[in-house]
Symmetry: C2
Subunit: 363 residues, 2 copies
Amino acid sequence: EISVRDYQTCHRTVQLPGLVNIAAFVPGLVSRDSDDLQAVTKASIAAGFSMIRVMPVGKDGSISDLKSLKVAQQNGKRGAYCDFNLSITAASDNASQISNAAGEVGSLFIPFNHLSDNISKVAAVEAHFDAWPTHKPIITDARTTDLASILLLASLHNRRIHVTAVTTKNDIKLIALGKEKGLKVTCDVSIYALYLSQTDYPGCHFLPTAEDQAVLWEHLATIDVFSVGSLPYQLARFLNQPADVAVGIEDSLPLLLTSVAEGKLTVDDIITRLHDNPKEIFELHDQVGTTLEVEIDRPCVVAATSSWSPFAGKVLKAAILRVTFQDEAVCLDGSVLPVPPRGSDMSTHGALPPMVAISSPAV
Amino acid sequence: EISVRDYQTCHRTVQLPGLVNIAAFVPGLVSRDSDDLQAVTKASIAAGFSMIRVMPVGKDGSISDLKSLKVAQQNGKRGAYCDFNLSITAASDNASQISNAAGEVGSLFIPFNHLSDNISKVAAVEAHFDAWPTHKPIITDARTTDLASILLLASLHNRRIHVTAVTTKNDIKLIALGKEKGLKVTCDVSIYALYLSQTDYPGCHFLPTAEDQAVLWEHLATIDVFSVGSLPYQLARFLNQPADVAVGIEDSLPLLLTSVAEGKLTVDDIITRLHDNPKEIFELHDQVGTTLEVEIDRPCVVAATSSWSPFAGKVLKAAILRVTFQDEAVCLDGSVLPVPPRGSDMSTHGALPPMVAISSPAV
Ligand SMILES: [Zn+2]
Ligand SMILES: [Zn+2]
Ligand SMILES: [Zn+2]
Ligand SMILES: [Zn+2]
Ligand SMILES: [Zn+2]
Ligand SMILES: [Zn+2]
Ligand SMILES: [Zn+2]
Ligand SMILES: [Zn+2]
C-alpha cells in the first residue's frame, strides 16, 4: 500500500534505549566450541539489541542440567557483543535437579509441548512450580488447552508466568481474559508473527493465520513484549533457505519502525515492549550508556545478504543510524565497528530474592 | 482378605434416605420409542436409587438440541420407576442453541474429550460458560490438561464446576489442590473404579491403574460423590459381555456397604456421597417418604443373572431389604413389587434462579 507519507522527505530521528530480545534462539548453544552465541550477540547489537535472553530450545540449544549449562557458559566466555543471560529448560523429570541451577540462570523455561507424555504434563509442571524459587521468572510456550492448564497451575500457586510467542487468536484472547480477571500473566508475540502469516506461506502452521494476525494486532494492549524468538529460524528451515543463526534479528526493529511510519504503532509502543516491560518482567539489569539512534520514514531496501530474509528486496521505512553500548559507539549506519566484544553473562543478576529492608527504629 | 468380621453373626440393619445416581447412563435415551430409560429407572429403584440424573453421553444417549430433548422427554413419559432429570450436552457449535433449553434440563454437560478439534476447545468451552445460566450446574468429564483448562475457565468466570468419573491420581490431586486453593470444584468417582482396576482387566484403559485406585481411596475427602456412571457399561462392552442397560446399578450399594463391613467406609460416608452432596451440588428436590433399609455384614453371593456383572459369584457383605418410594414399599429383599411406575421428570426443578427476597421496611 502506498500512503501519502511515502512522499514525505522529512525523516524523524529518534533516540531509543538499548533494546532487549527476551527470546533469542542460539542453535548451537550447548555444542562444545560453538560460535553461535557470539554470532547471535553480534547480529543483535548491530540490530539495536544490547541484551538478549537466550531461550533453551532446540536439539543443541537446550540447557536442561548443570552439564549443558557449563558448556553454554563456556561458549559465553568466547566473547559476546551484547549482554545476555541463560535460562534452563524444564523436563518431565528434572524438577529437583534444576532448582540447584536456579542461582546461575535467568529463568525457568517450561516447553509445555515437548514434555514427554500427556498424562504426566500437569504433574510435571506442578512439580516445577513447587521446586523453582518463587522470585524467579517462569516462561512457557504452552498453547490452547495446555496454556489454560499452566495458567491454572500458576494461579493456584500464585506465581507470575510469561507466555512466549503467542500466535493464535484463541490464545491471545485467553490471556486477555486472564489479565482482566487478575491472573499474573504476561506474554510476547514474535515480531515476524505480526508481519507474516500463513497467507504468505501456505502450510506454515507455526505462523499465524491472517485472521489470527489481525486479532493479535487488535490485542496490542494485551501484548507486553515483542520478541525475535525462533520463528525466523523455523521459517528459514521450512523454506529450505540457509538458516543463518542471525536470521530475523536485523529485520525486527525496522519492521516495527515501519509500522510507526505508517501510523500503526507509536515509538512508545516499541520502547514499552522492547525495553521497559522486558526489564520489569524478567528483572533485568540497567544498561548504562546504552542507546540507539534510529531514523523513521527513511525508505530503505532490505539488502539481499548471505543471511536470508523473507523481506529481502522489500522497502522498509526506517534505519538504525548508530548503536552506543557502554558509552561507546559500536555500530554506525548498520555496520558493526571493529570493537572488542564487551557483553557479559548477566544470568546471576537478580539470582537472590529481594532483601527485606530492616527499618531503623524511630528516634 | 478374610477378617474377623466375616465370622460375626450379628448384622446391622440401617435406614438410608433414597439415594441419587448423579450419572446414570441410558444407552437409547434419544432413540424413538426406546424402553431403556424405563429399564434403567426400574433397576435403579430396586438398587436403592430413587433419583437419577441421566447423563447425555454415547451415540444414542446424547441430548444436544431441542429435538433430541423432546424424544428423551417422550421416552420419560412411558413411565419411570424413580425420579429423574435430563441434561444437555455441549458441542463446539451449540452454545447459543442450548441456552434456550436451559429451563428444561437439570444441567449442562461439557464432554471435553469429544469436542471436535483441539484448537477450538478453549474457545468452545468459553462460549458455553458465557451462554449457560449462572445458577445452573455444569458438569464435565475433562481429563489431565483439559481438566486444568476447564478449571481455569470456571475460575475466571467464577463458576461452579463438577468433574465426573475421575479415575487417575493426577486428576484427583489436581482437584484436591484446586479445592485447597478455593476453586469451586466438586467431583465424583465411579463406584466400579473404586473396586476394579487395570490389574483385574489389563488393557482396560478407562479403569484406574492399581496405583490410581489406591490414590483415589486416599483422597476420599476430596471425592464429593460416588456415581454409577457409564463405566460398568463400557467394561461389559470391552469384555464382549451382554451390555444390559442396568449393568453396574445393582452392585453399587452392596459394594460400598461391604467396605463399611470391612471398616474402610462409614455409613455416613455413603449418605454424604449418594444423597446429601448430590442434592446440594445439583440442587435436587426433596424426596418425601423415600427410604431404604439395608443390612450390613450379611454375606450375600452376587447372583449370575441375565444382567452380566463382574462380581457374579463373589460374596458381598450387604443386602438391600426394602425400598420405600413416596411412602410405598416398592422393593422387598431385592425384588421389585408389582407397582406402577411413579417416578417423575424433575428436569425443571430449580430451573429458575433463586428469588431475591424483598425485605419489608422496618416498622
Ligand atoms: Zn533523514
Ligand atoms: Zn504445588
Ligand atoms: Zn537489579
Ligand atoms: Zn534501559
Ligand atoms: Zn441379619
Ligand atoms: Zn467468558
Ligand atoms: Zn428445590
Ligand atoms: Zn433426601
